[in-house]
Symmetry: none
Subunit: 412 residues, 2 copies
């Protein structure tokens, strides 16, 4: 069965100049492949009208679906709207309904629309507006000769809202053949060890197995299969899923899109348990990940970012003598932090992290990347040592992931 | 003045499937524009030979310089070398000098070359090998009809070594005109209001002005100009920069690549000031952003993620009667949080955030998106109210940005 040819064009001088790392294309590619759709071409083009037309013409000729991001805002260099309208020999007309939406959006915040915002209400006569839940500029949908062009804003939250609410459902209905997949989200195990446990992937044929490592959410396994027949796809996927579960069950925290922190909060909420975190090198990242889950307040009581030794002593009751003897990055201090956090906040469970994120601050005994994590609950205190080998950012993210993994193993 | 047309092609299914975020293109774009060169086109293509040829042909026709990354390794799906050779009607021939280099490289680590590595020593007869300081596969340089094609590995450290040691020096010698730019990073003002203050952008001609909005780092302004003459470019850019500074000076926190949190920490470190943060709805995000800057421990003393009312009372000394009377999301509580954080931690300055990030928890009086931020220092307490209209994630990020902006305005 032939795939639907989907092409993405990212508009923006700032990407070509290296000022902005484009993350929209990565998100769009992942959102498509998660739904059994596949991006075939991707390109970045600057804010010149001629270059944009050139690239849009080419995409429209070779692909059935063209997605464009960027350049829909109110300012002078946001020329995507007129360029696309001209490409379709269409014209921009003022739309009072869109003008009203934009005015209302500003009014909600007690503001009058700034100059230039009337441009956002000038809309191509033959395009369908795509509602924007997170901003002012509507997206555009052209449908012609059985092909589709979607133009979305470059602001990630606005783009994602339109993709999820409008573009992806339409593309799923256009898909040729049936595509199915199963997801296994794992924690506490690396890609090569997973692969060793699962064994030869060709045993799973015709089902395809992909390993998708991530810094924050562990290794994600994806089984996928395309076929004209839906029941064939589901039957084969169920068989392969049973096989994978049989091999790596202990490491699977979710078989859906839930994050590790969401799974932890769901379990703790059901058990009516409460949580506190005490962080040094992760500096609030664990708390941030927990609070990013809506409704986390049922479980999460407080976070203590005890970056200085004084804060560890005052807020967590860590014994200064222990800090002196073993140093801030040690099993003893990690455990004292977790115990102190639980005791002082009166929660059921507390996790702690202390480490050297880098790039400086390492010693021969305690190199950059050394991290101690600990957990304290009514069953006692446990701790683990890690040595990460990445940048400051990746060491901190991996440390937060290790702490959440420890928490998940304890509560599941 | 015609620019040198430079085009980049990234090879890799993993990028189109959304499994890997391509970071090479961002690095290459920045390395070029930092040297007054400009990437005009960029695209990503999968590992299919047909798609690769299609894209290479197009790039070779429209651009004078084509840079290709990826697919030069020893495995079966690394087909960039034969595809390019065939495009130039060239053939791969075994090169004993390259074979020796590869064998030596493995021998240095006490290894024998893995199967398939002999393929890396089969080299197109008319291409020049580009030395690889960090890996086995050499790069390729074709020169024909006054045009250049460079094929580099996808492994970032190998690609960067070849760019810096070989490609960039050659491109600088080919450069026709000169390209320059200036950056202004702003905080506390939206794109449309900036645009109103700056006025008609065409007054800046021939300098081009772009507005680059972001959720976390405010709106970035970029002035840019290409010309045959370097001193003309610099003169015009300086004039335009003076003009922009004259209009929006108050909102500019950096004229380089530094983040808002880096600027704040640099200023506070110089003034020997210390900082604490008290966060409710942002849940550790502000602390996380501050701690993500290397060396933040000089300034940042602690963070208190007081998600529950009890934590606000116990850790920050917020008066329970004030919580009862005004509610957790109020000016009074935001101010009490900042005052309590400063008093209890003994720092020079404390910022606080309390708000309703959503999606639920709003009331008619206090809707989702309502956020109070406050700052306390020896000069007193200030506070501000915001009403954000995005998702939970974007409301939290905007609240963190607003708090950092308030802090920057106070310390600068």
């Amino acid at each position: 069965m032939p795939d639907l040819n989907i092409e993405l064009i990212v508009i923006g001088d700032e990407v070509l100049l290296g000022h902005t790392q484009d993350t929209n294309s990565h998100w769009i590619a992942g959102a498509l492949s998660g739904r059994g759709l596949r991006l075939r071409w991707m390109s970045v083009v600057g804010d010149k009208a001629g270059d944009m037309r050139h690239q849009i013409r080419r995409a429209w000729n070779r692909s059935e679906v063209v997605i464009i991001t960027g350049g829909l805002g109110p300012t002078h260099d946001d020329i995507t709207r007129p360029v696309i309208a001209r490409f379709f020999n269409d014209e921009l007309v003022p739309r009072s309904d869109l003008a009203k939406l934009i005015t209302n959006r500003f009014a909600l915040r007690g503001l009058t629309p700034p100059p230039g915002s009337e441009r956002m209400a000038e809309f191509p006569s033959r395009a369908e507006p795509i509602p924007n839940q997170h901003g002012s500029a509507p997206g555009m949908h052209y449908q012609q000769d059985g092909k589709h062009l979607f133009a979305l804003p470059g602001v990630p939250v606005e783009m994602r809202g339109m993709m999820e609410g409008y573009v992806l459902p339409r593309l799923e209905s256009l898909r040729k053949g049936y595509f199915g997949f199963r997801i296994f989200r794992t924690a506490g195990i690396g890609e090569s060890y997973l692969s060793r446990l699962i064994g030869d992937e060709t045993d799973l044929a015709p089902v395809h197995l992909a390993y998708l490592p991530s810094i924050d959410q562990g290794v994600i396994l994806r089984l996928s299969l395309s076929d004209d027949d839906e029941s064939t796809v589901n039957g084969q996927l169920n068989k392969a899923a049973d096989y994978v579960r049989g091999r790596v069950q202990d490491y699977i925290y979710a078989e859906d899109e839930r994050s590790l922190e969401e799974v932890i909060l769901t379990i703790m909420r059901a058990k009516k348990q409460t949580l506190a975190v005490a962080e040094s090198c992760t500096g609030g990242l664990i708390a941030h990940r927990i609070v990013s889950v809506a409704g986390s307040s049922d479980v999460f009581e407080r976070g203590l970012v005890t970056y200085s030794n004084r804060a560890k002593i005052e807020l967590l009751g860590v014994n200064p003598a222990v800090l002196n003897e073993f140093g801030a990055v040690s099993r003893q201090v990690a455990e004292a932090m977790a115990e102190g956090a639980r005791l002082k906040s009166g929660v059921d469970m507390a996790v702690s992290v202390t480490g050297i994120a880098g790039p400086s601050g390492g010693t021969p005994d305690k190199p950059v990347g050394l991290v101690w994590i600990a957990l304290d609950d009514s069953r006692g205190t446990i701790s683990e040592k890690y040595l990460f080998a990445g940048s400051r950012d990746s060491n901190r993210r991996r440390a937060a992931g290790a702490a959440l993994t420890m928490l998940w193993k304890r509560v599941r």
